[in-house]
């Protein structure tokens, strides 16, 4: 392929070798469209750690998608710099850059005239991979996104359901193992049940592959469920708050963020906390039981449902290891306000 020969092949080879995430930095990035009074994105700075899944949440038209699209230069920034693994993307060939940044959009955009296998093979083919390697990779990816290759590889996109198409879209974006992924409301067009399954599957996948991901959504609950950190954005992509889900729920920076969290902030926080966060009381005999691996929200659910004063918490083997009651749950919420968030971030992931 003629367009792979340019000065930055070395850099691309380096970041391709790094299939796990790399650092991503946006530095004073502004996008001003000609003839518009205000910029679409104004002075946006953010530093994303390798392997981090950052959610951009905001109302439609706030510039979150524009910000994301500047990373793979589908939109060119007016000023500022964007660095992937320390390298300014503006110094790279945009087409070559895009082959090394995974991209998933809401409408999926599978090529209708190509089979699922051919769709997934698109980027590897452009990168000049050998046939065998592509075939193996397609097979592996289809399994990863839980589509049986023997059934789906040779099907055309219109023969798949919406959820299956979205899985194929994710597989296609992962094909060349890009260290950075951009996802624009990828599950937005699916029904709630499918969406929840896709979210869970994707989190499991991300735990394995550890990509650096910008994930755009307008659904705050999705942001809480998925994000390592959430950036709540307002007009002109202004960052209102950028923090872990737990900390945003516990102490929203301002009214704007509060309004975005909506009703039930406490319940949402509980869903992010493992039962082990609470001080367990002595084991009680009988009554409902809950495994310690559940969340505090699950515990509260069971208390409310069963009407029991106190429920038994069991260890993974099913042995009673203590009990929890309403007061203990409230206590966690009270003390954990911003303070408990200083714990390790991994504990925060749902």
């Amino acid at each position: 392929m003629s367009d792979t020969t340019h000065t930055n092949t070395g850099f691309f080879r380096a970041i391709s070798a790094q299939s796990a995430g790399v650092a991503l930095e946006l530095d004073h990035v502004t996008k001003q469209y000609p003839g518009q009074p205000a910029p679409a994105v104004e002075d946006f700075s953010m530093s994303i750690r390798p392997g981090e899944l950052v959610m951009f949440v905001g109302p439609s038209g706030c510039g979150k998608t524009t910000t994301m699209k500047m990373v793979n230069r589908l939109i060119e920034p007016t000023s500022g710099s964007i660095r992937i693994d320390g390298k300014d993307v503006l110094s790279l060939d945009p087409n070559e850059l895009r082959r090394h940044v995974g991209y998933v959009i809401q409408q999926i955009g599978l090529f209708p005239h190509r089979t699922i296998a051919e769709n997934i093979a698109t980027v590897p083919k452009m990168l000049g991979w050998k046939k065998d390697r592509i075939a193996d990779r397609v097979d592996e990816l289809l399994r990863t996104v839980q589509l049986d290759p023997s059934i789906f590889a040779n099907r055309y996109p219109r023969q798949l359901s919406g959820g299956q198409q979205q899985r194929a879209g994710v597989a296609r974006a992962l094909a060349a193992d890009p260290p950075v992924m951009l996802m624009d409301e990828p599950f937005g067009a699916t029904d709630p049940i499918t969406r929840e399954r896709l979210q869970a599957e994707f989190l499991r996948l991300q735990a394995e592959i550890g990509k650096t991901i910008i994930f755009v959504t307008h659904d705050f609950d999705e942001a809480i469920r998925m994000g390592d950190r959430i950036a709540v954005l307002s007009e002109r992509s202004h960052i209102e708050q950028f923090d872990t889900p737990a900390r945003i729920l516990a102490s929203p920076a301002n009214d704007y963020v509060t309004s975005f969290i909506g009703q039930g902030a406490a319940i949402k926080r509980l869903a992010l906390m493992p039962i082990s966060d609470a001080a367990l009381g002595p084991a009680v005999s009988g009554g409902p039981r809950i495994p310690v691996t559940g969340s505090l929200r699950d515990a509260l659910d069971l208390i409310v449902l069963s009407g029991a004063e106190r429920i038994t918490v069991t260890d993974p083997d099913g042995k009673a290891m203590g009990s929890i009651d309403h007061a203990a749950i409230s206590h966690v919420l009270g003390t954990s306000a911003p303070a408990s968030a200083s714990g390790p971030e991994s504990a925060v992931a749902p």
Binding site: R98, G109, H113, V123, G169, L182
Partner: protein, 258 residues
């Protein structure tokens, strides 16, 4: 048609498509063979005078058919070579002005009556094959141009964005995504152009460019209706057959998965 197909279950839709395709494949040739057989049977029952015999013989008819087909195919080929790239250019240019220019060009070609174009061209230029060819090309330009533009515009934005987002260059997007997806529409335009050309080629007789128009006009002028009738039926038969052939080609080259 696509809408009704989409409502059915895929298997039923496919079965239905297959039946439709077989019907389409069989109907047109059968009708043409019947019509032509009927024509020749009728001719065989007639007592032909010397004038009629001069045209209603295999050598003459074959020569006219060859002229007619040559004109049709060369014109259509030229249209394909000129109008498809023009359509691509018009689609890719950002300027509204260029688009409207191309469309207006095609519109003028088609709005002018074919006889008028042929005769005007013959007056200002020359008579004969080349002139007829130019007139035919002008006449068939629009459907191909317009279908190329429309076909490319119909390709979903999501598909184009995904293609660009994966690092395809604009030319790769055109070749690998847009053109294949637009090909059914473009081919439909070519098919229209071909059928147009068959009909319009009859006018070539007025500027001495031959074709089956010779038989129609001669039959009319000399009041030899079997000659007129034979010419007319043959033109119609060719038009139907070419449309059928183009339909078969369309089915064969349509990208799978659409």
């Amino acid at each position: 048609m696509t809408a009704t197909v989409a409502l059915l279950s895929p298997r039923k839709a496919r079965a239905r498509e297959r039946t439709q395709r077989i019907l389409r494949l069989v109907t047109a040739p059968v009708i043409v063979v019947l019509a032509v057989a009927l024509l020749f049977w009728w001719l065989s029952t007639l007592q032909l005078d010397s004038i009629e015999q001069r045209t209603l013989n295999p050598t003459y008819i074959e020569a006219r058919i060859k002229e007619h087909l040559l004109l049709t195919f060369v014109a259509s080929l030229l249209v394909a070579v000129l109008a498809i790239p023009a359509g691509i250019l018009a689609y890719r240019t950002r300027s509204r002005w260029v688009r409207s220019f191309f469309l207006a060009l095609g519109n003028i070609g088609q709005a002018t009556p074919a006889v008028g174009v042929v005769i005007l061209l013959a007056i200002v230029w020359q008579t004969g094959f080349a002139t007829a060819l130019v007139a035919l090309v002008a006449y068939s330009f629009l459907p191909v141009l317009r279908n190329t533009m429309v076909g490319l515009e119909q390709v979903g934005d999501d598909v184009k964005e995904a293609a660009r987002g994966m690092g395809m260059t604009p030319n790769q997007v055109l070749r690998r995504i847009e053109l294949p997806l637009a090909s059914p529409t473009i081919l439909a335009g070519l098919r229209t152009a071909l059928v147009f050309a068959v009909g319009t080629a009859t006018v070539a007789t007025f500027i001495n460019a031959g074709g089956l128009g010779d038989m129609i006009v001669n039959g009319l002028k000399l009041q030899r209706y079997p000659v007129l009738f034979t010419g007319a039926v043959l033109v119609a038969a060719i038009a139907v057959l070419i449309d059928w052939l183009a339909g078969v080609v369309e089915d064969l080259v349509r990208p799978k998965g659409l």
